[in-house]
Subunit: 156 residues, 4 copies
């Protein structure tokens, strides 16, 4: 169902993809701010290799805060990007692969469901999943145009 | 991965569960309001059999709206309920099982990941899935208490 | 700019309005749930005298929570109400009139800007303000239909 | 209550502040993306003169979108900024000063209530207001630490 890999830290030959992946994971860690409650960082890899980092932005009215993943994506969109290869997420939770919340999964889904999400641990290990793995049976912008019915089994 | 059933409309002997299920699906349909853009309804079944209906509440600042599923759950919580068996969702999209957005999946997840979600079509057919099916590798309120690290492979 | 009144607790003749007002403030207090971080309650008075209570509904992903005021309004809307007279808000903050967040002010604004908000303290004192006082120079659903330009001083 | 100025486009001597202000308004316009429904742009001026631009980022689940103002601020925070002088907002609404929604006002408020917001029209005219003007009687991060009561006039 998903791929588990321990990220090797020993020096050996890396392919370009290895380097990008490691760079992305590293940058997701540095994206973490010194926030009050829950420090999360994200790094987003655009189709042309540009990396955008994000942190969670808290608010005194909790529900108006923005997660690290959404910050990274909004940054990229505001620079004209709409096509992404991968996003990596990091936190300081010791024994847990930090996972995107449902809101962020839907926010990622807006840009397709076949790109990758790296859920990482502070020790550098990670899970690699697709948006579709994380948000199955989803809907996206293309579904807003679909046909609607006016009568149903239940009456209108 | 998930269960597909066409809801029979012919008259035959129903078990209690059948009746509750059908009632829930019917009520989710009636929850739909006459909104500007996208009419969605939800019906939430609490542990004691009480059903709460919800509709989406729109806002001129789109991102401040609330989905039908969250309305139904917030209603139930404000009446003291925190344990649920199932939620059914209905819309007027013709050929599509209406699916909860990622934000709603996380909102449902707050109350456990083993209860059921019915994604329905206007013709009465539906998919039955669990929260865990819809939001795999999720985190919930219990995860907020977990241990944090102070040094990592990447440096602090 | 706003009206300050200390709610008398002595027994004397109350008008109907006094009673409704006091009832609303009392109910806003009872709306408060036993939440993890910040206990807020709200009571919403509909045009026909019906009162809807709400509490804040938290989420492990903080930004997916819903404030007490929005819960009360979403409940009312899902029961077919769209016209309101007043909303009262209560919290356990000792020396402070609990005030709605900006998100809730916009959520209230959807239903007009001339109805009342009671910001209360645990000792029963309160401020009475209108939505317009709390969200000046606002926009609402009627503004979404306004005319747009295609050329500007700044070029397109 | 607020200051109204028509931004002159004729060539005359500008002070530094004039230039920065004009630059900010111009950049807010260019921040506008080609979105489906409502094109809004924002430009945020940090304490050291750096300008961050933002656009609204839409989502198929409307309530998961992010406004232009929040995008600009989240970008700045993710680059380590937390002190701001002004934000300008632009849209293509012809006869209207585009105003921040309540959610954005609260998001701005997190960083103080004495900095400036420019609400502009496509013809270059604008209103200049403070966060406090736009969100009176507000609460911010400093209020989360205040004392709570355990008994009240209304009982527990
Ligand atoms: Zn998130
Ligand atoms: Zn939803
Ligand atoms: Zn609020
Ligand atoms: Zn906004």
């Amino acid at each position: 169902f998903f791929l588990f890999l321990f990220l090797s830290t020993t020096t050996h030959t890396h392919t370009d993809t290895d380097r990008t992946q490691r760079d992305l994971l590293k940058k997701s860690w540095y994206g973490r701010p010194h926030n009050r409650k829950f420090r999360v960082g994200a790094a987003l890899l655009a189709h042309d290799g540009t990396i955008f980092t994000g942190c969670n932005v808290e608010n005194a009215s909790y529900n108006l805060g923005i997660c690290a993943e959404r910050t990274a994506i909004a940054k990229a969109v505001s620079e004209g990007y709409r096509s992404f290869k991968a996003i990596a997420i990091a936190s300081d939770l010791e024994d847990q692969f930090i996972s995107p919340c449902g809101g962020c999964r839907q926010f990622m889904r807006e840009f397709g469901d076949q790109w990758s999400v790296y859920l990482s641990k502070p020790d550098g290990s990670y899970l690699k999943m697709t948006i579709e793995d994380l948000l199955p049976v989803s809907f996206g912008p293309e579904d807003l145009k679909k046909k609607r019915v006016f009568t149903t089994q239940f009456g209108s």
